[in-house]
């Protein structure tokens, strides 16, 4: 299969620019990057069709080898339609971000940040004075411990947080 060198060079340049733009933080540039990637892929699809040939309209006298391969072009058509829809949607989102936040940047996930910054200290498990959350107030446990000394391993701390 012979390949058109110009097509390949353009495709490579589009991929390179597309990936570079995709790594930017500005949403508009990300969108431009996605569009370039989609178009580079369309060129790749076109290149898989091989050499240029006649339009694939059936004619009795033309040998089969002279026609162009129509399938990649059908695929490109579909992929253009899809990338059109996605681009339109992305533009909508970018506009909405601008309306809401007056900025054209990818925002951090606040909850993710919060979880990342949470210390390993857990109020329920690690507090020095045990927070009383059970149905049995500490007084009851203390009384039980006095009845049978040593049966319960409870530190009878006075007013330790019971009700």
């Amino acid at each position: 299969m012979s390949v058109n060198l110009t097509l390949l060079t353009v495709m490579g340049a589009l991929y390179a620019c597309g990936i570079y733009l995709l790594l930017e933080r500005s949403l508009t540039r990300v969108l431009l990057g996605l569009m370039l990637l989609a178009n580079a892929t369309n060129l790749l699809l076109l290149a898989t069709g091989g050499y240029a040939g006649l339009a694939p309209i059936f004619n009795k006298d033309t040998p089969a080898g002279d026609y162009n391969d129509p399938l990649p072009q059908a695929l490109i058509l579909t992929s253009i339609v899809i990338s059109f829809a996605v681009t339109a949607f992305m533009l909508g989102i970018i506009y909405r971000t601008w309306v809401l936040a007056r900025q054209d940047e990818i925002q951090d996930d606040a909850e993710d940040r919060r979880v990342a910054e949470t210390p390993s200290f857990d109020a329920e498990d690690d507090a020095v004075i045990p927070v009383e959350t059970s149905e049995f107030p500490l007084a009851m446990i203390k009384a039980a411990a006095e009845e049978q000394p040593g049966s319960l391993n409870v530190d009878p701390r006075p007013e330790g947080g019971g009700e």
């Binding site: 299969m1 995709l22 949403l27 990300v30 996605l34 990637l37 989609a38 892929t41 790749l44 699809l45 290149a47 898989t48 399938l71 990649p72 695929l75 579909t78 992929s79 899809i82 829809a85 996605v86 949607f89 992305m90 989102i93 909405r96 971000t97 809401l100 936040a101 990818i106 925002q107 996930d109 606040a110 909850e111 993710d112 979880v115 949470t118 109020a123 959350t133």
Partner: protein, 537 residues
């Protein structure tokens, strides 16, 4: 004229429904009736397809009468029809839930009228992906469901949803571009995109080209399925969407990725070329995912991390490429779709009843609403893999297959699987302890809704001051239906496991699929099956 000729209806009916509901956009009642009716019809059709495939074997239908490998072909085999039935059942339950939510809240001010058409298009995309016998049609199926999901995840256009939507859209588009590049390269290398034809022709390529194409497909599908290094986007984007949307995404979308991975591994590139890297990815997915879940305090985010983690089990089963492993993976996919969706639906109910889905803000729900507690408890234990539930059976099948395989890596995965199961139990138990068992007054920052609601309102009661029903019957009913469906998977696990094993057998054999598409005389390549067993022993 065989029964499979009706298979395209599984895609056409939801699209027709989308068109109708779009026309009825001002008539909410009619919209609901049409979408529920059409989805029920689709489900019945798919049950019929499953039954016919179960008796008559794999069948294919040529769309428009064009013969394969030139035309588009839809293939109904046991795996795809099983996935269709489970996914339609789940999406019907979620649709009823969403309808209930809409009726309770009144959809006047939110643009929810767009929900029904978009949702039906999502279902059509999922069906198309499951049925497709052609790589490019699979791509189109993915794009249909993804475009619908972009709209659903940003529904309402609030700040957090737009932020999550940006991540989701960009990542999905990149994975789709990768998939399209892989398709272009495969077409360049073989001159066909029909999957049955590819199964014959890909084997003739030299090893390096094969590996390149294989890896590209797996990476593209791995992003969609959220396999570990490519799973970062999921917990960021899913939790902000409305509860029914998150539920259906969690249940179905990642599983479509897993489905595509299964087809790649069994039909296109059989053999164990990439099994070791897949197993490592599976192990990391399981362990890293569940460790992420333990750190969360928001129930939706926690469940998103368990979703990522449990994808690891399916990849594990797939990477073994033995009948036992693949069969268990098929079983696990069906189980996980049901369970994960019901858990997200219950979280939606928790959010309504307790005012929030953060574990710092809700507490004491077991007393406030025992129904909710039961609805959460059953699928939660199922997810963690407590016997006798189907989660336990699926994991048991996977672990048995792993031990049977007996390689050191398989043993590492068995240990990782058990560990993940225990850690899932820990994560779920934290939710249970904090949200359900402690007293409402013990919550760190109790939500006003939690404290204001009357203590005895179990279902359908109206809270004193607000005019919003806390737990509408429709929502509870559809969640209950899904939970019961999950329990039914446990009760009928025997026959169900047989279906899974048989579909695994057929997928590894490959010849039923190829002959169904290309006719009886097709040159069938050697089955992956006996060779595999020879290698294993």
């Amino acid at each position: 004229m065989n029964i499979a000729s009706f298979a395209p209806l599984a895609v056409v009916l939801p699209i027709l429904g989308a068109a109708l509901t779009f026309l009825l956009i001002r008539y909410t009642r009619a919209q609901r009736a049409v979408s529920i009716a059409l989805l029920t019809l689709t489900l019945m059709l798919e049950c019929w397809l499953l039954a016919s495939v179960w008796e008559g074997g794999t069948t294919a239908v040529n769309i428009g009468g064009w013969l394969p490998p030139w035309g588009i072909v839809m293939v109904v085999d046991q795996f795809s029809s099983l996935m269709l039935v489970v996914s339609s059942a789940v999406s019907l339950a979620v649709l009823i839930y969403a309808t209930g939510q809409g009726m309770a809240d009144g959809d006047r001010d939110a643009p929810v009228s767009i929900f029904h058409p978009t949702y039906l298009i999502l279902v059509a995309g999922v069906s198309n992906a499951f049925l497709s016998g052609d790589l490019f049609n699979l791509y189109v199926g993915f794009e249909i469901l993804l475009t619908a999901s972009y709209v659903l995840i940003t529904l309402g256009g609030t700040g957090p949803r737009i932020r999550a939507g940006v991540t989701y859209v960009v990542v999905s588009v990149v994975s789709s571009v990768l998939f399209l590049i892989a398709i272009a390269m495969i077409y360049g290398a073989t001159g066909t995109i029909n999957m049955a034809d590819l199964a014959i022709k890909l084997g003739d390529l030299d090893q390096g080209t094969q590996t390149l194409l294989h890896v590209m497909l797996l990476v593209a599908f791995g992003i969609k399925a959220a396999v570990f290094p490519l799973s970062f986007w999921l917990p960021d984007s899913y939790p902000t969407a409305p509860a029914p949307v998150t539920a259906v995404f969690a249940g179905l979308l990642t599983k479509v990725g897993v489905y595509a991975m299964v087809r790649t591994e069994t039909l296109l590139f059989p053999g164990d070329a990439l099994n070791a890297p897949l197993m490592v990815a599976a192990l990391l997915t399981m362990v890293v995912g569940i460790l992420g879940a333990l750190a969360q305090s928001d129930i939706k985010r926690l469940l998103s991390f368990t979703l990522v983690s449990h994808i690891g089990y399916m990849v594990f089963g797939l990477a073994m490429s033995t009948v036992a492993g693949l069969g268990a993976a098929v079983f696990y996919v069906a189980h996980h779709i049901t369970i994960q969706t019901s858990l997200f639906l219950v979280t939606g109910l928790i959010e309504r009843r307790g005012g929030s889905s953060s574990m710092d803000r809700v507490a004491g729900l077991a007393k406030l609403s025992p129904v909710l507690a039961v609805l959460f408890f059953i699928p939660a234990m199922n997810l963690a893999g407590i016997p006798p539930f189907s989660g336990f059976l699926g994991k048991l099948g996977l672990l048995q297959a792993g031990v049977e395989l007996g390689t050191p890596l398989a043993y590492a995965l068995v240990v990782g699987g058990v560990l993940t199961s225990l850690l899932t139990l820990l994560a779920i138990a934290r939710v249970w302890n904090r949200a359900f068992w402690r007293k409402p007054s013990d919550a760190e920052h109790p939500d006003p809704v939690l404290l204001a609601a009357p203590e005895d309102s179990a279902t359908g009661d109206r809270a004193g001051r607000t005019n919003v029903t806390l737990l509408p019957r429709t929502m509870v009913g559809s969640t209950l239906g899904l939970v019961v469906f999950g329990v039914a998977l446990t009760v009928f696990a025997g026959p169900f496991f047989r279906v899974a094993d048989q579909s695994a057998q057929q997928m590894l054999d490959r010849s039923p699929y190829i002959q169904a598409v290309l006719g009886e005389n097709a040159p069938v390549p050697p089955a992956a099956l006996p060779e595999q067993q020879g290698d294993g022993k």
